[in-house]
Assembly symmetry: C2
Homo-oligomer: 138 residues x 2
DNA sequence: AGAATAAGTAAGCATGCGTAGACGATACAC
DNA sequence: GTGTATCGTCTACGCATGCTTACTTATTCT
Protein backbone atom coordinates (compact mmCIF):
# COMPACT_ATOMS: atom_id res chain seq x y z
CA UNK A 1 0.00 0.00 0.00
CA UNK A 2 1.21 3.44 -0.86
CA UNK A 3 1.79 6.07 1.73
CA UNK A 4 -1.62 7.50 2.53
CA UNK A 5 -2.26 11.07 1.58
CA UNK A 6 -2.02 13.99 3.92
CA UNK A 7 -5.62 14.99 3.36
CA UNK A 8 -6.83 11.57 4.30
CA UNK A 9 -4.71 11.32 7.42
CA UNK A 10 -5.56 14.81 8.59
CA UNK A 11 -9.26 14.27 8.04
CA UNK A 12 -9.28 11.08 10.04
CA UNK A 13 -7.22 12.46 12.87
CA UNK A 14 -9.14 15.71 13.08
CA UNK A 15 -12.37 13.79 13.23
CA UNK A 16 -11.30 11.77 16.26
CA UNK A 17 -9.74 14.79 17.93
CA UNK A 18 -12.99 16.67 17.53
CA UNK A 19 -15.03 13.73 18.72
CA UNK A 20 -12.98 13.65 21.89
CA UNK A 21 -13.08 17.38 22.34
CA UNK A 22 -16.81 17.79 21.98
CA UNK A 23 -17.84 16.13 25.24
CA UNK A 24 -15.26 18.16 27.12
CA UNK A 25 -16.77 21.37 25.80
CA UNK A 26 -20.33 20.14 26.18
CA UNK A 27 -19.47 19.54 29.78
CA UNK A 28 -19.04 23.30 30.09
CA UNK A 29 -22.14 24.02 28.02
CA UNK A 30 -20.09 24.99 24.99
CA UNK A 31 -20.06 24.09 21.33
CA UNK A 32 -16.98 24.25 19.17
CA UNK A 33 -17.55 27.79 18.02
CA UNK A 34 -18.36 29.01 21.49
CA UNK A 35 -15.02 27.71 22.62
CA UNK A 36 -13.20 29.21 19.66
CA UNK A 37 -14.70 32.58 20.43
CA UNK A 38 -13.98 32.27 24.13
CA UNK A 39 -10.43 31.26 23.33
CA UNK A 40 -9.91 34.30 21.15
CA UNK A 41 -10.51 36.49 24.18
CA UNK A 42 -7.64 35.06 26.22
CA UNK A 43 -5.04 37.65 25.40
CA UNK A 44 -7.22 40.70 25.58
CA UNK A 45 -10.81 41.73 25.24
CA UNK A 46 -12.21 42.37 21.79
CA UNK A 47 -12.82 46.06 21.18
CA UNK A 48 -15.68 45.38 18.76
CA UNK A 49 -17.67 42.37 17.76
CA UNK A 50 -16.82 42.89 14.12
CA UNK A 51 -13.17 42.61 15.07
CA UNK A 52 -13.84 39.50 17.06
CA UNK A 53 -15.64 37.99 14.11
CA UNK A 54 -12.68 38.72 11.87
CA UNK A 55 -10.23 37.32 14.40
CA UNK A 56 -12.08 34.06 14.74
CA UNK A 57 -13.10 33.70 11.12
CA UNK A 58 -16.68 33.54 12.28
CA UNK A 59 -19.43 35.16 10.28
CA UNK A 60 -20.51 38.42 11.88
CA UNK A 61 -24.15 37.43 12.16
CA UNK A 62 -23.40 33.96 13.47
CA UNK A 63 -21.04 35.26 16.11
CA UNK A 64 -23.97 36.86 17.89
CA UNK A 65 -25.47 33.52 18.84
CA UNK A 66 -22.18 32.37 20.33
CA UNK A 67 -21.90 35.54 22.36
CA UNK A 68 -25.49 35.11 23.51
CA UNK A 69 -24.64 31.66 24.76
CA UNK A 70 -21.40 32.75 26.41
CA UNK A 71 -23.15 35.66 28.06
CA UNK A 72 -25.97 33.39 29.21
CA UNK A 73 -23.37 31.23 30.93
CA UNK A 74 -21.77 34.29 32.48
CA UNK A 75 -18.47 33.75 30.73
CA UNK A 76 -18.26 37.02 28.84
CA UNK A 77 -19.70 40.50 29.05
CA UNK A 78 -20.74 42.78 26.24
CA UNK A 79 -20.42 46.37 27.32
CA UNK A 80 -20.69 49.55 25.34
CA UNK A 81 -17.34 51.15 24.78
CA UNK A 82 -17.41 54.43 26.71
CA UNK A 83 -15.36 56.03 23.97
CA UNK A 84 -17.77 54.98 21.22
CA UNK A 85 -20.95 53.60 22.61
CA UNK A 86 -21.92 51.93 19.32
CA UNK A 87 -19.17 49.42 19.93
CA UNK A 88 -19.55 46.59 22.37
CA UNK A 89 -16.42 45.52 24.14
CA UNK A 90 -16.46 41.79 24.70
CA UNK A 91 -14.44 40.62 27.70
CA UNK A 92 -13.95 37.47 29.66
CA UNK A 93 -15.43 37.35 33.12
CA UNK A 94 -13.52 35.72 35.96
CA UNK A 95 -15.79 32.71 35.53
CA UNK A 96 -15.11 32.78 31.81
CA UNK A 97 -11.40 32.62 32.41
CA UNK A 98 -11.87 29.84 34.90
CA UNK A 99 -13.94 27.76 32.49
CA UNK A 100 -11.57 28.47 29.65
CA UNK A 101 -8.60 27.27 31.67
CA UNK A 102 -10.44 24.18 32.74
CA UNK A 103 -11.34 23.32 29.15
CA UNK A 104 -7.78 23.93 28.10
CA UNK A 105 -6.45 21.62 30.78
CA UNK A 106 -8.96 18.92 29.89
CA UNK A 107 -8.19 19.20 26.22
CA UNK A 108 -4.50 19.04 26.91
CA UNK A 109 -5.06 15.91 28.91
CA UNK A 110 -7.10 14.42 26.08
CA UNK A 111 -4.32 15.22 23.64
CA UNK A 112 -1.73 13.64 25.88
CA UNK A 113 -3.82 10.54 25.95
CA UNK A 114 -4.26 10.59 22.20
CA UNK A 115 -0.49 10.85 21.78
CA UNK A 116 0.46 8.53 24.61
CA UNK A 117 2.04 5.90 22.36
CA UNK A 118 4.11 8.37 20.39
CA UNK A 119 7.78 8.60 21.37
CA UNK A 120 8.59 12.01 22.85
CA UNK A 121 10.99 12.93 20.06
CA UNK A 122 8.44 12.15 17.39
CA UNK A 123 5.79 14.06 19.25
CA UNK A 124 7.97 17.13 19.43
CA UNK A 125 8.74 16.91 15.73
CA UNK A 126 5.05 16.39 15.01
CA UNK A 127 4.03 19.49 16.87
CA UNK A 128 6.90 21.46 15.47
CA UNK A 129 5.89 20.63 11.91
CA UNK A 130 2.23 21.33 12.55
CA UNK A 131 3.00 24.70 14.05
CA UNK A 132 5.41 25.55 11.31
CA UNK A 133 2.99 24.65 8.55
CA UNK A 134 0.15 26.59 10.08
CA UNK A 135 2.12 29.64 11.08
CA UNK A 136 2.82 31.13 7.66
CA UNK A 137 -0.85 30.95 6.81
CA UNK A 138 -1.53 33.93 9.03
CA UNK B 1 1.50 32.27 23.96
CA UNK B 2 0.62 28.75 24.93
CA UNK B 3 1.16 25.86 22.61
CA UNK B 4 -1.78 25.90 20.21
CA UNK B 5 -4.19 23.04 20.40
CA UNK B 6 -4.14 20.05 18.13
CA UNK B 7 -7.67 20.69 16.95
CA UNK B 8 -6.82 24.19 15.92
CA UNK B 9 -3.65 23.24 14.10
CA UNK B 10 -5.23 20.31 12.33
CA UNK B 11 -8.21 22.36 11.24
CA UNK B 12 -6.04 25.06 9.77
CA UNK B 13 -3.70 22.68 8.02
CA UNK B 14 -6.46 20.50 6.64
CA UNK B 15 -8.20 23.54 5.26
CA UNK B 16 -5.17 24.63 3.24
CA UNK B 17 -4.42 21.09 2.14
CA UNK B 18 -7.96 20.74 0.85
CA UNK B 19 -7.86 24.12 -0.81
CA UNK B 20 -4.79 23.01 -2.72
CA UNK B 21 -6.19 19.63 -3.53
CA UNK B 22 -9.49 20.80 -4.91
CA UNK B 23 -8.20 22.38 -8.12
CA UNK B 24 -6.14 19.29 -8.83
CA UNK B 25 -9.23 17.13 -8.63
CA UNK B 26 -11.42 19.65 -10.43
CA UNK B 27 -8.90 19.45 -13.22
CA UNK B 28 -9.95 15.82 -13.64
CA UNK B 29 -13.63 16.65 -13.25
CA UNK B 30 -13.73 15.28 -9.72
CA UNK B 31 -14.93 16.50 -6.37
CA UNK B 32 -13.49 15.35 -3.08
CA UNK B 33 -15.91 12.49 -2.61
CA UNK B 34 -15.56 11.34 -6.20
CA UNK B 35 -11.86 11.02 -5.60
CA UNK B 36 -12.32 9.26 -2.29
CA UNK B 37 -14.58 6.71 -3.94
CA UNK B 38 -12.26 6.30 -6.89
CA UNK B 39 -9.37 5.84 -4.51
CA UNK B 40 -11.16 3.12 -2.61
CA UNK B 41 -11.23 1.03 -5.77
CA UNK B 42 -7.45 0.92 -6.17
CA UNK B 43 -6.81 -2.39 -4.52
CA UNK B 44 -9.73 -4.30 -5.91
CA UNK B 45 -13.17 -3.72 -7.31
CA UNK B 46 -16.05 -3.32 -4.88
CA UNK B 47 -18.33 -6.35 -4.91
CA UNK B 48 -21.38 -4.27 -3.99
CA UNK B 49 -22.16 -0.61 -3.73
CA UNK B 50 -23.30 -1.01 -0.17
CA UNK B 51 -19.86 -2.36 0.65
CA UNK B 52 -18.22 0.51 -1.16
CA UNK B 53 -20.34 2.95 0.80
CA UNK B 54 -19.28 1.35 4.05
CA UNK B 55 -15.63 1.29 3.01
CA UNK B 56 -15.59 4.97 2.17
CA UNK B 57 -17.83 6.14 4.97
CA UNK B 58 -20.11 7.61 2.36
CA UNK B 59 -23.85 7.44 2.77
CA UNK B 60 -25.41 4.80 0.56
CA UNK B 61 -27.72 7.21 -1.24
CA UNK B 62 -25.05 9.88 -1.68
CA UNK B 63 -22.65 7.40 -3.18
CA UNK B 64 -24.90 7.01 -6.19
CA UNK B 65 -24.24 10.53 -7.41
CA UNK B 66 -20.51 10.00 -7.14
CA UNK B 67 -20.71 6.79 -9.13
CA UNK B 68 -22.87 8.52 -11.73
CA UNK B 69 -20.20 11.15 -12.14
CA UNK B 70 -17.36 8.64 -12.25
CA UNK B 71 -19.25 6.55 -14.78
CA UNK B 72 -20.03 9.62 -16.85
CA UNK B 73 -16.31 10.31 -17.04
CA UNK B 74 -15.64 6.71 -17.97
CA UNK B 75 -13.55 6.05 -14.89
CA UNK B 76 -15.56 3.21 -13.40
CA UNK B 77 -18.06 0.62 -14.53
CA UNK B 78 -21.07 -0.72 -12.68
CA UNK B 79 -21.84 -4.22 -13.79
CA UNK B 80 -24.26 -6.78 -12.43
CA UNK B 81 -22.50 -9.51 -10.54
CA UNK B 82 -23.09 -12.72 -12.55
CA UNK B 83 -23.31 -14.65 -9.31
CA UNK B 84 -25.97 -12.38 -7.85
CA UNK B 85 -27.35 -10.00 -10.40
CA UNK B 86 -28.84 -7.72 -7.79
CA UNK B 87 -25.34 -6.59 -6.91
CA UNK B 88 -23.40 -4.17 -9.04
CA UNK B 89 -19.69 -4.71 -9.15
CA UNK B 90 -17.91 -1.38 -9.34
CA UNK B 91 -14.52 -1.49 -11.01
CA UNK B 92 -11.95 0.94 -12.26
CA UNK B 93 -11.57 1.26 -16.00
CA UNK B 94 -8.13 1.64 -17.54
CA UNK B 95 -8.88 5.33 -17.89
CA UNK B 96 -9.99 5.42 -14.28
CA UNK B 97 -6.72 3.98 -13.13
CA UNK B 98 -4.84 6.41 -15.31
CA UNK B 99 -6.69 9.42 -13.92
CA UNK B 100 -6.33 8.13 -10.39
CA UNK B 101 -2.58 7.78 -10.76
CA UNK B 102 -2.31 11.22 -12.27
CA UNK B 103 -4.25 12.76 -9.40
CA UNK B 104 -2.12 10.88 -6.91
CA UNK B 105 1.06 12.14 -8.52
CA UNK B 106 -0.22 15.72 -8.61
CA UNK B 107 -1.34 15.55 -5.01
CA UNK B 108 1.98 14.12 -3.95
CA UNK B 109 3.69 16.98 -5.69
CA UNK B 110 1.43 19.46 -3.95
CA UNK B 111 2.25 17.87 -0.61
CA UNK B 112 5.95 18.02 -1.30
CA UNK B 113 5.57 21.69 -2.01
CA UNK B 114 3.55 22.22 1.13
CA UNK B 115 6.25 20.51 3.16
CA UNK B 116 9.21 21.92 1.30
CA UNK B 117 10.54 23.92 4.25
CA UNK B 118 10.32 21.03 6.69
CA UNK B 119 13.59 19.24 7.41
CA UNK B 120 13.51 15.65 6.12
CA UNK B 121 13.83 14.15 9.58
CA UNK B 122 10.94 16.16 10.91
CA UNK B 123 8.86 15.32 7.91
CA UNK B 124 9.43 11.63 8.40
CA UNK B 125 8.51 11.88 12.05
CA UNK B 126 5.45 13.92 11.13
CA UNK B 127 4.18 11.33 8.70
CA UNK B 128 5.07 8.52 11.02
CA UNK B 129 3.03 10.03 13.83
CA UNK B 130 0.09 10.82 11.58
CA UNK B 131 0.00 7.31 10.25
CA UNK B 132 0.37 5.83 13.67
CA UNK B 133 -2.41 7.90 15.15
CA UNK B 134 -4.81 7.13 12.35
CA UNK B 135 -4.01 3.46 12.01
CA UNK B 136 -5.53 2.18 15.24
CA UNK B 137 -8.78 3.92 14.40
CA UNK B 138 -9.61 1.25 11.86
C1' DA C 1 -29.99 67.95 10.35
C1' DG C 2 -28.06 64.32 7.72
C1' DA C 3 -24.73 60.68 6.60
C1' DA C 4 -22.31 56.86 8.40
C1' DT C 5 -21.31 53.03 11.57
C1' DA C 6 -22.08 49.01 15.10
C1' DA C 7 -24.97 45.64 16.72
C1' DG C 8 -28.92 42.94 16.32
C1' DT C 9 -32.62 40.52 13.69
C1' DA C 10 -34.80 38.13 10.10
C1' DA C 11 -35.36 36.08 5.49
C1' DG C 12 -33.66 33.83 1.48
C1' DC C 13 -30.61 30.83 -0.81
C1' DA C 14 -27.22 27.22 -1.34
C1' DT C 15 -24.82 23.15 0.28
C1' DG C 16 -24.27 18.86 2.45
C1' DC C 17 -25.81 15.03 5.26
C1' DG C 18 -28.90 11.29 6.75
C1' DT C 19 -33.63 9.03 6.88
C1' DA C 20 -37.60 7.01 4.98
C1' DG C 21 -40.64 5.22 1.58
C1' DA C 22 -41.42 3.42 -2.85
C1' DC C 23 -40.05 0.99 -7.07
C1' DG C 24 -38.21 -2.71 -10.17
C1' DA C 25 -35.11 -6.44 -10.63
C1' DT C 26 -33.43 -10.37 -8.64
C1' DA C 27 -32.62 -14.19 -5.35
C1' DC C 28 -34.02 -17.68 -2.24
C1' DA C 29 -36.91 -20.72 0.83
C1' DC C 30 -40.77 -23.40 0.99
C1' DG D 1 -44.84 -21.11 -8.08
C1' DT D 2 -45.58 -18.00 -4.40
C1' DG D 3 -44.10 -15.24 -0.82
C1' DT D 4 -40.24 -12.87 1.35
C1' DA D 5 -35.97 -10.51 1.39
C1' DT D 6 -32.15 -7.90 -0.72
C1' DC D 7 -29.83 -4.53 -3.87
C1' DG D 8 -29.63 -0.44 -6.31
C1' DT D 9 -32.15 3.63 -7.50
C1' DC D 10 -35.08 7.64 -6.98
C1' DT D 11 -37.72 11.07 -4.54
C1' DA D 12 -38.92 13.78 -0.73
C1' DC D 13 -38.16 15.42 3.74
C1' DG D 14 -35.81 17.39 7.78
C1' DC D 15 -31.66 19.07 9.72
C1' DA D 16 -27.56 21.92 10.25
C1' DT D 17 -24.30 25.01 8.31
C1' DG D 18 -22.97 29.18 6.05
C1' DC D 19 -23.30 33.46 3.15
C1' DT D 20 -25.85 37.51 1.57
C1' DT D 21 -29.13 41.00 1.99
C1' DA D 22 -31.96 44.19 4.11
C1' DC D 23 -34.13 46.46 7.86
C1' DT D 24 -34.09 48.42 12.68
C1' DT D 25 -32.00 50.74 16.54
C1' DA D 26 -28.63 53.38 18.87
C1' DT D 27 -24.89 56.21 18.40
C1' DT D 28 -21.32 59.06 16.33
C1' DC D 29 -19.39 62.40 13.17
C1' DT D 30 -19.65 66.38 9.92
Amino acid sequence: MERPELGYLLTRLLRTAMAREEPILANAGLRMWDYAVLSALTENAAPTQAQLAAATGRDKTRLIGNLDQLERLGLVTREPDPADRRNRVVSLTAEGRRILERCRADIREMEDDLLRDVPPGDREAFERVLTRLVDPLD
